[in-house]
Symmetry: C2
Subunit: 342 residues, 2 copies
């Protein structure tokens, strides 16, 4: 398995991305890495590290996309970016998958351009795996499409459901739509129209859920547009962090503070492990012709390593091909449902 | 001060709403309550309770709006609902404010019809007060308008800023727009257009914030459409609950579980008190001609009592009049900015 890794993408690149690559080849015998980015910088970073030399290669790219760049112009102008060069390796079958912690809008746009969108969907979507009290669920779209139509959300539901079956191993994933209330009369026009489409579709649609039920394990796949998905993803992350800090402060302020904190520490450590985004590594871009994993801008070396593992798993199971063929079957059984026209 | 309370609204009505009314008159000498709803039911509930009889009166209303009713038809058909009758008391100046834990869409629609929208705004919005690590902030709109235009969001920012100054006592509230990233290039069309309007406006606009900064105290007023606001409000509530349960389970599973739990308990109690939505009671509907407080469907008696206190504070400071006059001044200084045309 050969995974191309964007060495320049993410807030702590290139040091942590390269560390993630080195840890991967040292731990996994079956994954080789192609580091994509500025060759002199990568060589310098690799110099001080120990690893089997033949398992990491370098693909030079002279440009880097900054996190604050406007999406459209970065895609158009930076033809020699590490994102583009990495995706081209997948297209040319020189890599089995691509991983980047860089600008997600640019990754998606470039993936569309270089790898192309699957024949059966209109737009790709990011499928993030999120922890709950019971077991993790899939949030789709987690940020690729900031405005959507009902047909897009239906396709996200189909892709998310297939992904959940193949990657999380759930037999018949329960799919729900994120709205402002459980009733089918709640939500805006987009939600009410999508509700009707999902009821007629092949997915196991259990109805709407509102925010308070997202983390109770009420559904296996939660569908929303990318704006809502991004807000949910980041709000939960920020809030979990704030709550743990507030609790630590409360414990410390008690008379029994020091001993309480010592007792609380292992519980917090377990909690952090279970809810740590680093453990999930990255989220696949579903609906494109190939394997592309987007990981968090603030990815640590552990997150990078886990994202590479996700990419390798995804590529080995050929999930993107499975998704295309399943959606084609699902949609062709339902006359009148929107199927992408190419 | 006379507050009309929807006795029939909320998941635990009428028992908890009536309990909240009784606790209020027993604790606050300057607030009298008018209970609005089915008279026989209310009389029966009041019978077993002790309170100064002249301080609680009853206004009969024969209909109740259920939480799952479609908004438009409930407003049109239920002319004798407790929501409508309560708002009519405010209109007729027989009450200084109205409080309900019922169907928020119906409360908003009926308030528009009965009290009318302020001359200077196009749409009212719900301003919820939310806790953070540092101090509370105002989230506007927390669920009244599920799809918005840039001009609406500008008006929400102006109303939220004035509300924050008068109720939370901040001198020059920092106003931020909720987006998918801090950069002004991030977000969808609505966000980018609103960004431009806010930059030109009279509010102290500090730019975009994304989900991860909502609970860090980065801003005093956070502006978004009502769909996003509802999702943030409910997701945070559900997640806070889930995290506390996960932590309790982690502590209990340790060898030192029992003693750890005993030590953790007071910290959890303090945490709950600081983040408890019941403490904030209810959120005002800003932009209408009168005082109307919407409280959580799952309001307890304590939440009802606090919502009555908020209503009384709001009415005493005549916040709705202040908002109208300030926005009128703000907008009239800026040519070309959208001001409601009546």
């Amino acid at each position: 398995m050969r995974i191309a890794l964007d060495a320049m993408g993410g807030d702590y690149a290139p040091a942590v991305t390269i560390e993630g690559a080195v840890e991967t080849v040292n731990a996994c015998e079956d994954i080789d890495i192609i580091l994509v980015g500025d060759e002199p910088t990568i060589t310098r970073e690799l110099d001080s590290r120990k690893f089997p030399a033949n398992r990491i290669t370098i693909k030079h790219a002279s440009q880097v996309v900054r996190m604050d760049e406007p999406t459209a112009s970065a895609i158009r102008k930076k033809r020699d970016s590490s994102i583009r060069r990495g995706l081209e390796l997948v297209k040319a079958n020189e890599a089995d998958g691509f991983v980047s912690a860089g600008h997600s809008g640019v990754i998606m746009g470039t993936a569309l351009l270089v790898l192309g969108v699957s024949e059966v969907v209109d737009r790709p979507a990011i499928a993030a795996i999120m922890p709950t009290l019971q077991f993790p669920f899939v949030l789709i779209d987690a940020g690729a499409n900031l405005s959507c139509k009902p047909g897009n959300l239906l396709q996200f539901a189909l892709m998310g459901s297939t992904y959940c079956r193949y990657i999380l191993g759930r037999e018949e994933p329960r799919v729900a739509l994120i709205s402002t209330g459980e009733e089918d009369t709640k939500g805006n026009e987009l939600i009410r129209e999508t509700f009707k489409l999902l009821k007629e579709s092949a997915v196991n649609f259990i109805g709407n859920v509102d925010g308070k039920d997202i983390f109770t394990g009420a559904a296996d796949v939660l569908v929303c547009d990318g704006f809502i998905g991004n807000v949910i993803l980041k709000t939960s992350e920020g809030l979990a962090d704030a709550i743990v800090r507030m609790l630590k402060r409360e414990v410390a302020s008690l008379a029994t503070g020091r001993i309480g904190y010592l007792l609380l520490k292992p519980a917090l450590r377990n909690f952090k492990k279970k809810t740590d985004y680093d453990e999930y590594g990255g989220a696949p871009l579903l609906g494109i012709n190939g394997t592309c994993i987007i990981s968090h801008g603030r990815s640590t070396a552990k997150a990078v390593k886990n994202a590479i593992r996700v990419a390798s798993d995804f590529a080995r199971k050929r999930v993107y091909e499975v998704i295309s063929s399943e959606i084609h079957n699902d949609l062709s059984h339902h006359e009148g449902l929107p199927i992408a026209k190419k």
